[in-house]
């Protein structure tokens, strides 16, 4: 079982950062609401507050990891210019997609949207984590701040969803491949 270096980096970008970040959202939103909504059943303990703060901080790291690894590791391979004389576009995903009217919108809509909208998520989540660190359970008394925090978190979730979904589709139609092959597990040949 082996994987190319570029495939591995794409997995880190999409699954390691992006998907984990997406998975963390539902719990974060539920906890933010539960701990800060007025009339909450109980006042959160310092331990609960610190735990959610740690959780939100990890989400911030994942969000920045996703956009930075996407923009500076995976995207340059995706948009690499085809050298003169090369006919096989397999290693040039952007040009492979734009070479056919049947796939060009995966780039002009999918990648163009994904590469920009994704940046709204780390900006929003950094704000959410900061505001929670600053106010914590006192958010129950700050209805408008709470509304803004949850609103920005929901938009960050949607933006990440758009980026993640298009990332998955783009990787199906024009995967970023190449680089050294990395052997993960040495398999056995069938029939032996």
């Amino acid at each position: 079982m082996e994987i190319s270096f570029r495939d591995l980096m794409t997995v880190f970008h999409g699954m390691g950062f992006g998907a984990l970040f997406m998975l963390a959202f539902s719990a974060a939103l539920a906890e933010l609401y539960r701990m800060s909504a007025p009339g909450a059943a109980s006042v959160p303990s310092a331990r609960e507050h610190n735990l959610l703060l740690l959780y939100l901080s990890v989400m911030v790291v994942l969000a920045w990891g996703a956009v930075l690894s996407g923009a500076y590791i995976v995207y340059p391979w995706y948009r690499a210019v085809v050298p003169e004389g090369v006919i096989d576009l397999t290693d040039y995903p952007k040009f492979l997609l734009t070479s056919s009217p049947k796939t060009s919108a995966w780039h002009s809509l999918g990648m163009e949207w994904k590469e920009h909208v994704a940046w709204l998520a780390p900006i929003a989540m950094t704000m959410v984590a900061y505001v929670f660190a600053k106010y914590g359970p006192a958010l129950a008394k700050q209805k408008q701040i709470r509304t803004a925090v949850i609103g920005f978190a929901v938009v960050a979730f949607v933006a990440t969803g758009v980026a993640g979904a298009f990332g998955a589709f783009l990787n199906k139609y024009a995967p970023v491949r190449g680089g050294a092959m990395i052997e993960i597990i040495a398999g056995e040949q069938e029939g032996q």
């Binding site: 909208v117 709204l120 505001v131 106010y135």
Partner: protein, 115 residues
């Protein structure tokens, strides 16, 4: 937004929260505006190419992050320890966030450019 009221000693002022929220809105809008500008003008796309392998996206995103952090720093200093009209701040922040979302959507970018 600029109306500032004295705070009670037993409550956390909303100024720092308002600064973070408005700055996030400003950063989001900056992302959309820079993305549109880079798409519309070739010269700006070249200007935004801070790192050649990533192209214009490197400058668009870096510039938006800088605008966001500078806005946050300035607003934090201005509103530190104060209460501001939170309703207006939240409305403006959501409007700026909507600008960011809309201007990063390629069909809206194309519509504005008349493509």
């Amino acid at each position: 937004m600029a109306n500032i009221t004295p705070i009670k000693t037993d409550e956390i002022p909303n100024g720092p929260g308002a600064a973070a929220i408005l700055a996030a809105g400003i950063g989001s809008a900056a992302m959309g505006i820079f993305a549109l500008a880079g798409d519309a003008f070739t010269s700006l796309n070249h200007f935004f190419t801070f790192y050649k392998p990533t192209g214009g996206l490197s400058g668009v995103s870096t510039s938006a992050v800088i605008v966001w952090l500078v806005a946050w720093f300035v607003l934090s200093r201005r509103w530190s320890g104060k209460n501001v009209e939170m309703g207006k701040v939240v409305s403006v922040s959501f409007a700026l966030l909507a600008v960011g979302v809309l201007l990063t959507f390629p069909p809206v970018m194309d519509l504005i450019q008349g493509k």
